[in-house]
Symmetry: C2
Subunit: 424 residues, 2 copies
């Protein structure tokens, strides 16, 4: 066993997890590293933030995935840096892990484009802690507003600004509107529904830029009908704890800023000779290999080949998962001594989808087929439940959805302070 090639995978998101699962049972020793002890289904974070799902519905313990595996081991660890020259991964705390093969799959973090002021006061939707923090924050704003008599303060507490009109921003705005329908005037008797403003700010000229104009406009109509104030061609310039300022000078008093306007790759490779795209993704070759470092691959949000035909890969879960499986196959072929010429990685676009909330989704299939409305929503729902890890999580999420749908409820409206007892 000791002389089997050692594969280290950095990050257990969609890409790293798919790679590790594909390597389960292969003649290699795999070590899967992540700074959390769970795989997180990030596309549903906003459902945790808005009280429909429990954190445990979308977070699956990594060690549970590989309980029965003989060759995949998991370790919760923060990677300090990746030294491609010495071929080791250094963990914070000092441990160094040598590798024969390395798969960089550490994903992305929120990108505030250098605007520290905005970063300081915004809440993103990339980590589970973001979602629970946002839930605490939104409910705390409502609690405060319910007891507040000063009109300006009330207005700010009851204004929620969502930045970025992609799927995350659209879905989050829709879910927030649903939550407000449930609680305004009911849980919070002193807060009227029409006092609450949800403002969706998008830099481009329409929502869901990655979808067809038809779908983008559909989402826009549905959200507007549900009371979301949509501002297109609007860029955020600055922010503080009580307001956000747009590029055209408009100042919006608000107590909550949710950031979904961009992400940037998050990797621990410091070697300056590694080629990168303008957005800092590692510019891997068409076989997803990091140039100049043998046996080192990079997949998902941290990397993209730049090929003439397909362009850059989108920072979404499907290319990450497909890349993870592709790299695993490459490694297995090589370890088994197969001298086959591998075809370059080809990303198979199976379509994209988003939901605007209850009964309203948009689905785009590669052939050009599009669904909206109830069918779009149902497709979205079942695809998302299907991709959750673990039977129990699927069951639990489906149960929560059924409850929420039938009862018009988002029941998990608890403000659960951090374990140090501090709320925001």
């Amino acid at each position: 066993m000791a002389d089997r090639p050692r594969v280290v995978i950095v990050g257990a998101g969609f890409g790293g997890l798919a790679c590790a699962r594909k390597l389960d049972g292969a003649p290699v020793d795999v070590l899967l590293l992540d700074r959390h002890n769970y795989h997180l289904f990030t596309p549903l974070l906003y459902q945790v933030a808005t009280g429909l799902l429990n954190p445990s519905d979308i977070a699956y313990p990594l060690r549970a995935v590989f309980r029965r595996s003989r060759n995949v081991r998991v370790r919760e660890a923060t990677v300090e840096n990746v030294d491609l020259g010495r071929r080791v991964v250094r963990l914070s705390g000092g441990a160094t892990l040598p590798f024969d093969y390395l798969v960089l799959a550490s994903g992305s973090v929120d990108n505030y484009f250098g605007n520290q002021a905005v970063a300081q006061v915004s809440i993103g939707l990339k980590a589970l802690e973001d979602a629970t923090r946002l839930r605490n924050h939104v409910l705390t704003c409502l609690e405060r507003a319910d007891a507040e008599t000063d009109q300006a303060t009330r207005r700010a507490l009851l204004t929620f600004v969502v930045v970025g009109g992609g799927p995350t921003g659209v879905e989050c705005s829709g879910a927030l509107a649903e939550l407000m329908d449930i609680v305004a005037g009911k849980d919070y008797h002193q807060v009227a529904r029409d006092e609450i403003k949800i403002i969706l700010v998008e830099g481009g000229d329409r929502l869901l830029n990655a979808f067809s104009p038809h779908l983008g406009h559909y989402a826009q109509r549905v959200l507007a009908r549900r009371g979301v104030d949509i501002r297109t061609r609007a860029l955020v310039k600055g922010a503080d704890a009580r307001s956000v300022t747009l590029a055209d000078g408009t100042m919006i008093a608000c107590g909550t800023i949710i950031w979904s306007a961009g992400v940037r790759p998050n990797d621990a490779v410091t070697d300056p000779s590694i080629p990168r795209l303008r957005n800092h993704r590692i510019n891997v070759d068409p076989w997803l290999r990091v140039p100049g470092a043998s046996g080192v691959y990079a997949i998902g949000d941290v990397a993209s080949p730049q090929v003439a035909k397909q362009g850059e890969l989108p920072m979404l879960s499907p290319p990450a998962m497909q890349g993870g499986r592709y790299v695993a196959e490459t490694i297995v072929d090589e370890v088994r001594g197969l001298q086959l010429e591998r075809p370059p990685f080809h990303y198979l676009d199976k379509g994209t989808m988003a939901t605007v909330g209850r009964n309203a989704g948009v689905t785009h299939l590669p052939g050009g087929l599009e669904f909206t409305g109830f069918i779009g929503w149902l497709t979205w729902l079942f695809v998302h439940i299907y991709y959750l890890i673990g039977f129990r999580n699927r069951l639990s999420a489906l149960g929560s959805w059924a409850w929420g749908y039938l009862r018009h409820d988002r029941p998990i409206r608890i403000i659960l302070a951090a374990s140090n007892g501090q709320e925001e």
Copy 2:
């Protein structure tokens, strides 16, 4: 509406909530204050800490309880002090709330009997944050041990000391043992089950002092069979981050100390003229009135009458709930101008129960009837599910139990850091 008597209830635990529910619809304006926005079912906190239940299964939003109420309002607030002379409740933040009737129901907190060193490093089981903190902590100890080669450090990380052999300590030890059976050698491949020590420390000469010796010995046998090391007649004298020291000088290296050895009343009445029992509970009269302050009542853990026949009331949920309803009836009678002589409060003991884990519970009924084993466990389970607030929470908890029971699983094994990103 404005001239209806104003009832302020401090604390929405079992007593305060029962009182507010009984006053729902009565000709009074009720304000229910709690430092959290939920009612917490504290007896099941250890199930959250050991990965069987979600926080939201045992925490129910208070505003959801009173959504449809016309006269009960809820406010998340920390009470700074209660001024019985001026008849106001002062909130932290400065607001003062006048009252016509006041019900003190703020419960209890962990009692470390002045031992700051022990308080510093122990984790209690009184608040929801305690439970999530304990879950994070236990899983983090296992994560670290899995990667640790130093034997002394491993031993400490894998030793879990539970202090106090009452129901909480017994239930928590049993659940911890179950969790360890599930994960040792499976999730954590480098950790063998017999490396893990769970030590239950009790000052008296047996477990479950409030039950009959027969039940206490049964619990002891079951826990011992499940691998819990029980030390009776052992008192904790000191502790630091790596060990606990007993009164006889024994030092136990451990990374986790769970405190369930006592609670003390937690109220914000500063008036020194209020009579108190030796354990600081307010010594209310047989009608649960605070002597010397008209219209002021105290119920649950913060107070007890000291009557010859019944002695002091136990610090458990049933006397709190019964006291809450009794006081609500008293207030309604008085507001309605009924000149009836109220009978003194009489606590009806319906029995006590505890579980030692899977298929093993103890139930004591007032007639002297006792159950152990599967029947004791089933009784315990259904009584606890019945007393959860809300149909959804009951459904969800029952579902989690069924899953855990049938699959031998405690699936919520996620380390969810605080919203500030800090783990312990």
